[in-house]
Symmetry: C2
Amino acid sequence: MFDLLKTDTSSLARLGRLTTAHGVVQTPVFMPVGTQASVKALDPRELDEMGTEILLGNTYHLHIRPGLDIISEAGGLHQFMNWHKPILTDSGGFQVFSLAKIRKIKPHGVEFRSHLDGSLLFLGPKESMEIQRVLGSDIAMVFDDCPPHTATPREVRGAVERTLRWAAECREQPRAKGQLVFGIVQGGSHAELREECARALTAMKFDGYAVGGVSVGEPEPEMMKAVEYAVPFLPENQPRYAMGLGTPAQLVELVARGVDMFDCVLPTRVARNGTAYTRKGTISLKGGAYKRDWGPIEEGCDCFACQRFTRAYLRHLLNVNEILGLRMVSVHNSHLFLRVMADMRQHLAAGTFGEFRREFIAGYRPSRKVLAARQCTQPPVDEAG
Amino acid sequence: MFDLLKTDTSSLARLGRLTTAHGVVQTPVFMPVGTQASVKALDPRELDEMGTEILLGNTYHLHIRPGLDIISEAGGLHQFMNWHKPILTDSGGFQVFSLAKIRKIKPHGVEFRSHLDGSLLFLGPKESMEIQRVLGSDIAMVFDDCPPHTATPREVRGAVERTLRWAAECREQPRAKGQLVFGIVQGGSHAELREECARALTAMKFDGYAVGGVSVGEPEPEMMKAVEYAVPFLPENQPRYAMGLGTPAQLVELVARGVDMFDCVLPTRVARNGTAYTRKGTISLKGGAYKRDWGPIEEGCDCFACQRFTRAYLRHLLNVNEILGLRMVSVHNSHLFLRVMADMRQHLAAGTFGEFRREFIAGYRPSRKVLAARQCTQPPVDEAG
């Protein structure tokens, strides 16, 4: 199921190959996020052209709209959205704990009110796995308790215990044909809880392991530590997934810490605000600086947008709210994230990952927001986060 | 410049070929509208794939944003938006009279306040032609006075006189290399004014003639009459353009009345509201009726959207505000308008236009809005207009 092809000599980075029911995924891999059965603003051809190998879908959102009956009648999520490569589905745990209103944690799941219409819903290990079975994703995630960054140690311990209990329940549920199931390590920024959770999950023998409870508002060093605490206790020969991360520089640093899989809404979310990612950091394309800039978003980029349009044109489109503007920045950003992953795979294969990492990090100026989270005094280059 | 290839025996419909600086256009032709240097939600590849031969750009909007200096520095509108087939630019007359605030008509143009920031601007024959020269469109339109449907006969006469005076001024302005200039017939629903305006314009010898002052809120029969009043006084061997029209059935009926060129925002505007055009009329894809509809928007359609997605999927996307939803309906609608024009050209070439027209009109159920404008008692099939 997972072939570990090569391990870097200068870090924990790995080159791998993950085989799923809908095809093979080269790792390290970035998964564009199709929360509601669509990667925001992009079509499947564009996703194909930029080299997308696997998408993420979301149990919570798809359960609310269009509802499971519709997707079931379509023949599953792949058919419904006309995407025939692999799909990983998140379990809904993160959303129940971040989006839903008035939730009540019960022994076998969470009772909550829909963030949309306030209707009373229940999601637990059994329900989440049943939804993911019907969605027919290639990889299902266990239903976990994902506490906020501000949780007390006692609350984090409670979340770990619940996550482990629910993981065991998920383990026993029926699956779609060939569906893999990944466990999720919780434990906040507590080394002993991360270790305890990772060890207990590993004993349950999942097909892969995720580090959850990151991207919940924590500063960057804590996020890195959460991963560092968990990775040593996860099996070498199985894929590791850091959930909801990160910026291009963070992806490189997380690969260096032994992570194989990523998903993040950043490329498409910031695009809708006119922010483009480059290998040097972000730029706010709406700014006056690009009014007469006749170059592409990023020199040397071979994405659909950079091959066709200038910064000056895209700036105009963004400023007059033409959809083509945010579309093209979404294309470029997603393409860049995928391309950085492809570069890492190439350098891992060639044995030059250490050099790539050094150069990439040296050339990348993190946004003000990331810098603030590092409590760093380095001057920011832009406004975007 | 314009070759009249064939004239229908059952109507005034004509098959033609218009040669411009950026290529040849087969007529009758539909021009997708790229008001602000982008056809809303579509990219140039999609426009190419659906068979777009010529786009429309807008002097008023492009003058305000991004401003002429930017487009000039880009090397013209074709370069700026990366579209290398023909472009027709509207003169801004329609927008000055419909969008701008606090306008003051002066002998050589209109002083008005920008609909965006209230800044004081002036547009007249000289300014409009200069902007269109810099934009470098293949076809420039004269700057006209376009009164609303509610104008008094006296006001319409004033507008005709002003339009003619300004047309003569436009005629004398410098042009871009190879740029064609079309006159615009005003005259509301007054037969004698339409004739007078058409005759006077024709005497000035433009490269083509448009019927303006339609699509300004008038009922459908008045719109048809405005065209019928003008066409007999326009030269056979030059292209005729009905501005801002219409629905698919109206396009067929206007071709039958001797019109060769059309532009309309309907295909993309209604798409953003979830309304799809078909050869049988419009459907509101957001409706519950399509919840479990696993067919394409339109059976037999070979557009990008119909080849890939079901009505049920698109309905979901539209209802959760995913941009891919309105994108795909924009693709389908624009494709349909272009395809109906291609069908008309084919039937004109084959000598079967009369039959096509009869069948098309019999099969097409106009929207409630169009029916109301006809004061017709036929029951509507949908909500869209």
